[in-house]
């Protein structure tokens, strides 16, 4: 076979994979809604300094960490909940939430055989058996199950390269210098209401450090789940790519059905030093609430990356299908000269879901570049907002931004909103923003019908086509999962 044939054949195989997904469509309500029965140790409801000390103590943290948490808590007390996102929800009672839940057993496994079979079953239901992933995808999985890491694999391989991939709790103990230096350096606890709350009570999360000149040989991945009833989840992720290094990090989420709204307020901080690159991909499918809009997760996340070094690059890719309310703006601070920020996003809302999501690209260094591609799909009675900021500072000579922001509406009861903010203080900047709104065309559906493709499949095909530019940025297995989620989320949304 010639190279071109191989290329074509590859493309076709990929496509047949796509098609299988469409066939996989099921009529289940929320496919991954189940409650696993692992006993949890749960902190009493409410928040005060004692609770924070308890969390810190349970986790065996050093004094400086406890102090940091308390400082954040005291600051948080003075803050007000933000009101400006284009979302509506019943007020959260912060004293009616339990801020800590840990599985009672806290074992250290060397192999998967030792892992609680109940937990393995849970992963199987999620379609991500650890052993298969190990074999197939070469993905090291640091599974965060209800706030505490219980299984970490591939550590040995990573260790050889000097890569640190562990829970943040472990990092606080084992690598305090790195944590002290970088934690809160991109998202200080003073940043916003939820970042302050997270800093005070964060339970666990991932820590990654890639040493100088190392290219991480595999995609790092953590699956988060919210499990114990009424436990707010406050993950904290810190990723540092030292000079000339590269890492691709995957984050995927599923959650069981719950009646009560669950609060999730994570903080993710990325730091890219000279010539380093971080690629951060998310597929988010938390419980969105039922068809009447009852239940569902509140997802108030602060994600931010700092391109500190010259020629550094941070790329966010996200596929958001879940949560009752999403409030999330993965951002890039482009400090280093020639640094690059990217944001690729698909946000789907159905029924009564509300999403207010977008990005901030802050150009501070010379010759910095950013690209924003946002695809919003609204169906049912949902509201989908893009809110983005492109800021070019006085010193950011020759900064470039391109933003493409498309909305697709399905049905006449939903809403699509675009709120881009463009702030330019340098005359050499070039900023371009384009936005369109459209619907799935009846003529398109008829055309596909005429070629023998049924309406539901035709819609999936059109929607996937609409999102193609973003899916292309995802690692293969994630892209497959993303398409699956999209199809399930939009099921039955066009008569």
């Amino acid at each position: 076979m010639s190279n071109e044939e191989k290329k074509n054949l590859g493309a076709v195989e990929e496509l047949s994979e796509d098609m299988k997904i469409i066939e996989d469509l099921t009529k289940e309500e929320y496919k991954w809604g189940f409650v696993s029965e692992i006993e949890s140790e749960v902190a009493p409801k409410g928040l005060n300094e004692d609770i924070i000390r308890m969390i810190s103590e349970k986790k065996g943290e050093p004094e400086w960490m406890t102090e940091w948490r308390l400082k954040a808590y005291r600051y948080w007390l003075k803050m007000e909940e933000p009101k400006w996102p284009n979302v509506k929800y019943a007020p959260v009672d912060f004293q009616d939430i339990s801020y800590y839940a840990a599985p009672k057993k806290k074992p250290q496994y060397s192999s998967l055989d030792e892992v609680d079979p109940e937990l393995l079953k849970t992963f199987e239901k999620l379609g991500i058996p650890l052993e298969e992933q190990k074999a197939l995808a070469g993905v090291a999985v640091d599974a965060v199950f209800d706030s505490v890491s219980v299984a970490t694999t591939f550590k040995e391989t990573l260790k050889e390269k000097g890569i640190i991939f562990c829970s943040i709790s472990e990092a606080i103990k084992e690598h305090p210098d790195l944590v002290k230096k970088y934690l809160g350096s991109v998202v200080p606890y003073t940043d916003n209401f939820y970042a302050a709350l997270n800093s005070a009570v964060f339970s666990d999360g991932s820590f990654v450090y890639i040493p100088k000149g190392v290219r991480c040989p595999m995609e790092l991945s953590t699956y988060f789940r919210i499990n114990a009833q009424e436990t707010g989840q406050f993950e904290r992720t810190l990723i540092i790519a030292d000079e000339g290094s590269y890492v691709s990090y995957l984050e995927g989420c599923t959650a069981p059905i719950r009646d009560n709204n669950q609060l999730h307020a994570a903080v993710v901080e990325l730091i890219a030093l000279d010539n380093a690159e971080i690629k951060y991909s998310t597929v988010q499918n938390w419980y969105p609430g039922d068809k009447e809009g009852k239940g569902g997760i509140y997802n108030f996340v602060t994600k931010r990356g700092a391109c500190r070094g010259v020629n550094s690059k941070i790329s966010w890719t996200q596929v958001e299908t879940g949560s009752a309310i999403t409030w999330k703006y993965p951002s890039c601070i482009l400090q280093g000269e020639n640094s690059i920020g990217e944001f690729y996003s698909v946000a789907v809302t159905n029924n009564f879901q509300q999403a207010d999501t977008g990005t901030k690209m802050v150009h501070l260094g010379k010759n910095t570049r950013s690209t924003i591609v946002s695809k919003g799909i609204s169906a049912g009675r949902s509201n989908n907002s893009y809110r983005g900021l492109v800021k070019v500072g006085k010193k950011a000579t020759n900064a470039r931004n391109f933003t493409q922001c498309d909305s697709l509406l399905m049905g006449d009861k939903c809403g699509a909103h675009t709120f881009p903010y463009i702030e330019v203080e340098n005359d050499t900047a070039r900023v371009e923003h384009e936005a369109t709104t459209s619907k799935v065309g009846e003529d398109q559906i008829f055309y596909l019908n005429q070629r023998g493709i049924a309406t539901e499949d035709a819609i999936n095909m059109i929607v996937n086509g609409f999102c193609k530019e973003v899916f292309n940025e995802l690692p293969m297995e994630f892209a497959v999962e993303a398409q699956k989620l999209l199809a399930i989320t939009l099921e039955g949304s066009v008569g």
Binding site: A416, F419, I422, V424, T428, V431, H433, T437
Partner: protein, 447 residues
């Protein structure tokens, strides 16, 4: 300048002045206007001047309004200005009717109105109320004008303005120029024009609003313009703002459009230390067309804020908006363009473009285009760009022997052309082109 000491409250000052103001109205205060003033006074107590925390005022700091006492104009100004002086200020070389206001007060001696049909009434508002009470009752102050303290302040202290009423099936044979000569005599005036335009069914008209400031004066123009377009009517509004560079200019323009009406609104901004325009249209009918064209030039330390809002309330209408900004020196531009397509407004087509060039390293632009779409069968796009003059194009032009400054002027001319080309009065188009270069102190490239 009368600046406030810290202990003084600016709101108290305006309230205190009101009694005096009313007395000086000397019977010119019509009952209908009194009602509006009273309602505005009540609202005045509730509100404050907007802070930058307010999303609608995020990029525009109006502390000038808190820190300065502006004197509401109540008495007529005995002008030494002659018709000859006025001729140099208005736009010429075409036939027009002219109505002039000095410091917001009607100046009959400098006006020249020859209504060519009894179907067309052009007057100052105060006399219009006497002759057309029902029209005023039906249309005046029907829009929401208590969004912010500036609108409310106009409601309290409005002096006069133009009233234009076209009955069914009528048409101006020549455009009307509305000239506001501001900042004459005393310093620190509060000038509050209040304009009302009612265009009956199947009527059409073209109106040039010309806000011109005494170049040396400092004052505050706080205007409201209401426009009603009945079925099948068509209106071109040109707003040309050349206030003094130490003055403040705020206008709220609100149009209500009925079925098949067409509005062309041109917002050409040259003057003012700080300018804020709110240009709103409610498309309250089907098969309506709304076109917004904007050109804003900033130099020195000018601040120009254009907020536009197109509200698609019903199906099958279209709106099209093109706003372009050229910012030099330390000027700052703000564009906020909102389009709402409401649930019922299926088959809407809405377009919006905002383009900016920065000519200096210290100029700044904040652009915020917004789409809010609640109907699914619509076509909506918006775009915003910021850049500088194309260096390659400049090089290309210079390589043909054109000096640098002229090459830049050619590119500025090219940039502004999309908006200028839409001006329908040819003579006006040429004069606007001239103004662009005059205002930017650049070598002119003729049209």
């Amino acid at each position: 300048m009368k600046e406030l000491t810290k202990k003084e409250n600016i709101k108290d000052w305006y309230l205190k002045n009101f009694e005096l103001f009313e007395k000086q109205m000397n019977g010119h205060n019509h009952e209908l206007l009194k009602k509006v003033r009273q309602a505005s006074l009540a609202k005045f107590l509730e509100l404050d001047f907007p802070a930058t925390k307010n999303e609608e005022w995020k990029y525009t700091d109006v502390s000038f309004a808190r820190e300065n006492k502006f004197n509401p104009v109540s008495t007529d100004y005995k002008t030494s200005l002659t018709k000859e002086d006025v001729k140099n200020i208005i736009f010429g070389n075409f036939d027009y009717n002219l109505i002039t206001f000095i410091n917001g007060k009607f100046a009959a001696e400098l006006s020249d109105i020859s209504a060519d049909s009894d179907k067309i009434i052009i007057k100052n508002l105060n006399s219009f109320i006497d002759s057309h009470k029902e029209i005023v009752e039906n249309y005046f102050a029907k829009i929401s004008s208590d969004d912010n303290l500036f609108n409310v302040l106009n409601g309290i202290y409005m002096q006069d303005g133009v009233a234009i009423y076209l009955k069914e099936q009528s048409e101006f044979s020549k455009p009307l120029q509305v000239l506001y000569l501001n900042g004459y005599s005393e310093e620190n005036l509060l000038i509050a024009p209040r304009n009302l335009i009612v265009v009956g069914r199947n009527s059409r008209t073209s109106i040039v609003f010309n806000y011109y400031g005494n170049p040396k004066a400092s004052y505050f123009t706080d205007a409201i313009t209401e426009l009603y377009l009945e079925e099948d009517s068509s209106v071109d509004i040109y707003k040309i703002q050349r206030e003094s560079l130490s003055s403040y200019h705020i206008e709220k323009f609100q149009a209500i459009q009925k079925d098949r009406s067409v509005l062309n609104h041109y917002n050409l901004n040259f003057g003012g230390r700080l300018t804020r325009n709110d240009i709103n249209s409610k498309l309250d009918g089907e098969n309506i067309e709304t076109h917004y064209y904007g050109l804003y030039l900033g130099k020195e330390n000018q601040h120009i804020d254009n907020h536009t809002f197109v509200d698609h309330a019903k199906p099958n209408s279209m709106s099209n908006e093109l706003y372009k900004g050229i910012l030099d020196d330390k000027a700052r531009g703000v564009f906020n363009g909102k389009i709402i397509v409401r649930r019922d407004a299926q088959k809407t087509n809405a377009y919006q473009q905002n383009k900016n060039v920065l000519l200096s390293g210290e100029a700044r632009i904040d652009s915020k285009p917004q789409l809010e779409i609640f109907a699914d069968d619509v076509k909506c796009t918006h775009g915003a760009t910021v850049g500088h003059l194309d260096e390659e194009a400049e090089f290309y032009i210079r390589s043909r022997g054109v000096p640098e400054e002229l090459a830049k002027s050619i590119l500025i001319r090219a940039f502004a052309a999309d908006v200028c080309d839409e001006i329908k009065i040819v003579e006006l188009k040429e004069q606007i082109n001239h103004l662009i270069f005059e205002e930017l102190h650049r070598q002119e490239v003729s049209y």
